[in-house]
């Protein structure tokens, strides 16, 4: 095995040769990079060769096994690769639910055939995936889902509706939870199924939110025929797969907020700066005492949360089990983001009421829609109420 520094110089050399200079430090679009798929969108023309070269070298999924298109890197090497990307301000060659969600799931639960079929296409960015979990009548109580999968020989015939299927309108395949046994206990009759969205009977429509357009879609299945071989893990055992994936998703959500909050701590007082602009105050104490105290409270919340995330990570780095504090990340991060976005609108005052121009600038409209969008943070990915139930039960040991 080469030493880690050998690896660093190898990968550096490869990056110097293959990564287009043109994309260093570019502003990524709303979705944040290459998502691949049959109908890819490029934030920059050179994002395409970047994906292709990285895929060829296994660097779209650096730590996946080489046999499935990954890079076969060990954790230390993967970290070096990330560091070298960051140092060059290079975007990831590929992102999306394939890499983040279904890929790891297949690596853990998939059959050999499934891995050989799907993982290389994910690594090459050929197939874009989306997730089909929630249904109109199954939100917090996900296990009550009713999308039917009726057996017909070597096929399931799938009928039902999935909601909150992000980017379904741009995706090629969907991994979905379906009810394969209506007579079993609710968690025990569910199958985790891979469905080609090009199949007859699949239709997708976007879901506009109170904040405007969104990646969310409603995806309907009307007698869609899916090979039984597309069930991941055992038939009727999909809940096990789903739970593993859900836990993963919740951590991701907390991470997103957690990291960004942490960074904020060191960036001065952006809220106070915003207030100075709207209150016309250059220096000294902010003239609106009530706003000033709310800003301070919000900053204290952010900082206390950031320190708690840090405490958890420091403990993890030191090899400790995750402490009870990690159970609060999702609920606190999302509730805090709601309060913060609401406070930003209040700071803007009347200028915070705009839906679109004229009379409101781009930043104001983004801020106001950001506040509206944030209302959903405490609903998606496990409601705050469910999070509090979990804390009460698992951490505090309170009885049912």
């Amino acid at each position: 095995m080469p030493s880690i520094e050998t690896f660093r110089s190898e990968i550096s050399a490869w990056l110097d040769e293959n990564a287009p200079q043109t994309i260093a430090g570019i502003q990524l679009g709303e979705s944040g990079g290459n998502w691949g798929g049959r109908h890819p969108r490029w934030d920059h023309p050179d994002m395409k060769p970047w994906l292709e070269r990285a895929a060829a070298r296994g660097l779209t999924a650096p730590s996946w096994p080489r046999e499935y298109g990954g890079g076969g890197l060990d954790p230390e090497e993967a970290k070096v690769f990330t560091q070298e990307l960051a140092r060059r301000r290079l975007p990831l060659p590929l992102t999306g639910f394939g890499l983040a969600m279904i890929g790891p799931t297949l690596l853990r639960f998939g059959s050999e055939a499934q891995k050989r079929e799907h993982l290389p296409k994910i690594c090459r960015g050929e197939i874009r995936w989306c997730q089909g979990y929630s249904e109109p009548d199954s939100g917090s109580d996900l296990a009550s889902l009713q999308t039917k999968a009726e057996r017909d020989g070597e096929f399931f015939v799938v009928t039902g509706t999935k909601v909150w299927t992000s980017y379904a309108d741009q995706s090629d395949w969907i991994f979905a939870l379906v009810r394969s046994d209506p007579n079993a206990k609710k968690q025990e009759g569910i199958t985790f199924l891979l469905i080609d969205m090009a199949s007859p009977g699949v239709s997708v429509s976007p879901i506009p939110l109170i904040s405007g357009a969104s990646p969310f879609c409603e995806t309907r299945f009307d007698h869609v025929r899916v090979p039984i071989a597309n069930a991941v893990h055992h038939i009727h055992a999909g809940w096990t797969v789903a739970k593993a994936l859900l836990g993963h998703e919740r951590n991701m959500i907390a991470d997103v907020f957690g990291v960004s909050e942490r960074k904020k701590g060191s960036r001065g007082s952006p809220l106070a700066g915003l207030a100075r602009g709207y209150l016309g105050s250059d220096a000294g104490l902010l003239p609106d005492a009530a706003l000033r105290e709310q800003i301070a409270q919000c900053e204290l919340d952010e900082r206390a949360f950031g320190l708690t995330v840090q405490r958890s990570r420091d403990a993890a780095k030191a090899g400790h089990q995750p402490g009870p504090e990690s159970s609060l990340f999702k609920v606190y991060a999302t509730e805090l983001n709601k309060r913060r976005t609401e406070l930003m609108v209040k700071i803007a005052g009347p200028a915070g009421l705009g839906w679109e121009g004229p009379g409101f600038d781009e930043e104001e409209i983004t801020r106001t829609r950001g506040w509206l969008r944030a209302r959903g943070n405490s609903i998606e990915g496990g409601t705050s109420e469910v999070q509090l139930n979990i804390i009460a039960k698992r951490v505090l040991g309170l009885p049912d």
């Binding site: 917090s140 005052g349 009347p350 009421l353 679109e356 959903g376 609903i379």
Partner: protein, 380 residues
């Protein structure tokens, strides 16, 4: 001051509730929004409201009004608020209309109030500017002498009903600096005045609002509304009245949003039971109920105090607006959260209540502004 509805008020409330339910479902507001209606409201419905006598409620019979007060208009506005009816009662009847009633010359009143009451003309009031926030007396718009008349230059923002108004009353500075309390005068500017530019704005509540730009608009001395330099006091009285009306509307909106949420809590099944059976949600619903009941008492008190010219009226207006602002936002937020994912969709109507609650909160001063005003008026 009796905090109950009189029989006449009960009757009016019933009529207004029936009207709102039949003629103004929330879907109507959605259609106006989706088709980008330039008025943002229905002129036909406005005319119907006029025929029902509602636009004349707070005006004397001499101009075609009913000679009633805010207590009566409040019950109508509450009913309209329940269905988020976007017709411009607040900006036309209360803001501009009351400005003319309290400050206008006889000529102004007889020219503008009868057609306003009859639903034939719309007047708006522009009092907010890019830097004014909630301060009515922060006015940068300038009025300079121009012969016998005045030349106006400046900008008013978020002028409600401004995009469709036949005339706009604006505050302008005839003396003093931008933040001085005195030296403000109101002027009535007809829509066709040269140099007047009106641009429709789009806020989250989709209602009619406009940027009003005054690029050297010339008006005559007869266009001054009220006493020269005393427009700040007039504005404050007028906005207090409009605030009571807004609070009544907010009360209606939050009551309806809450009732819809309660219904949803009774119907939505998760984990095999209605979500309304979860105690944590019950207690939150009870907390909303309490805030709405308290808000109702304060709105009734404020309306009656203003009608009676009570010395405490301004304090009670601030009490009502502070509570309605906080309660409205609480109920709006809880309504979306308790509806869950469906509440986040544009397709569902509950989001409209959240958006309107936010606009209403930040109109005429938010809760913190009115707590501060309460404290000032209480001498501390």
């Amino acid at each position: 001051m009796q905090l109950i509805l009189t029989e006449d008020q009960e009757l009016l409330a019933k009529t207004a509730a029936d009207f709102a339910a039949e003629r103004s479902p929330v879907s109507r507001m959605r259609q106006l929004r989706d088709r980008k209606d330039p008025d943002g409201f229905s002129r036909a419905l406005w005319k119907e409201m006029a025929e029902l006598g509602w636009l004349g409620i707070p005006f004397p019979e001499s101009v075609g009004g009913a000679g009633m007060g805010l207590a009566e208009l409040a019950v109508v506005l509450e009913a309209l608020g329940r269905k988020l009816a976007p017709e411009p009662v607040l900006p036309c009847v209360l803001l501009a209309g009351q400005a003319l009633l309290l400050g206008g010359s006889d000529a102004q009143k007889s020219r503008w109030l009868p057609p306003l009451v009859a639903g034939e003309k719309l007047i708006a009031l522009g009092f907010q500017e890019p830097r004014s926030r909630y301060d009515l007396r922060r006015v940068a718009t300038k009025a300079e002498r121009a012969g016998e008349g005045w030349r106006l230059a400046g900008e008013k923002i978020q002028v409600e009903a401004g995009a469709s108004a036949d005339a706009i009353i604006v505050s302008a500075r005839t003396a003093g600096a931008e933040r001085d309390a005195a030296g403000i005068t109101l002027f009535l500017v007809p829509r066709d005045a040269k140099g007047l530019e009106i641009v429709r704005q789009h806020r989250i509540d989709s209602r009619n609002a406009a940027l009003v730009k005054l690029a050297g608009v010339t008006v005559t001395a007869a266009d001054v509304v009220g006493t020269l330099g005393a427009g700040g006091d007039l504005l404050e009285s007028v906005v207090d009245r409009a605030t009571v009306g807004l609070c009544a509307e907010m009360l209606g909106s939050m009551s309806e949003a809450f009732e819809r949420t309660l219904d949803y809590m009774k119907q939505r099944i998760q984990f095999g039971v209605p979500i309304g059976s979860f105690q944590a949600l019950k207690h939150r619903a009870a907390a909303c109920f309490i805030e709405i009941e308290l808000a109702r008492s304060t709105v009734m008190a404020a309306a009656r105090a203003v009608d009676a010219g009570d010395a405490e009226a301004a304090k009670l207006v601030s009490l009502a607006k502070a509570r309605c602002s906080d309660a409205g936002v609480l109920v709006g937020n809880e309504s979306v959260q308790l509806h869950g994912g469906i509440g986040m969709t544009d397709e569902h109507e509950i989001g409209f209540y959240l958006k309107r609650a936010r606009v209403a909160e930040m109109t005429f001063g938010d809760a913190a502004f009115h707590r501060d005003r309460w404290a000032r008026l209480s001498g501390y």
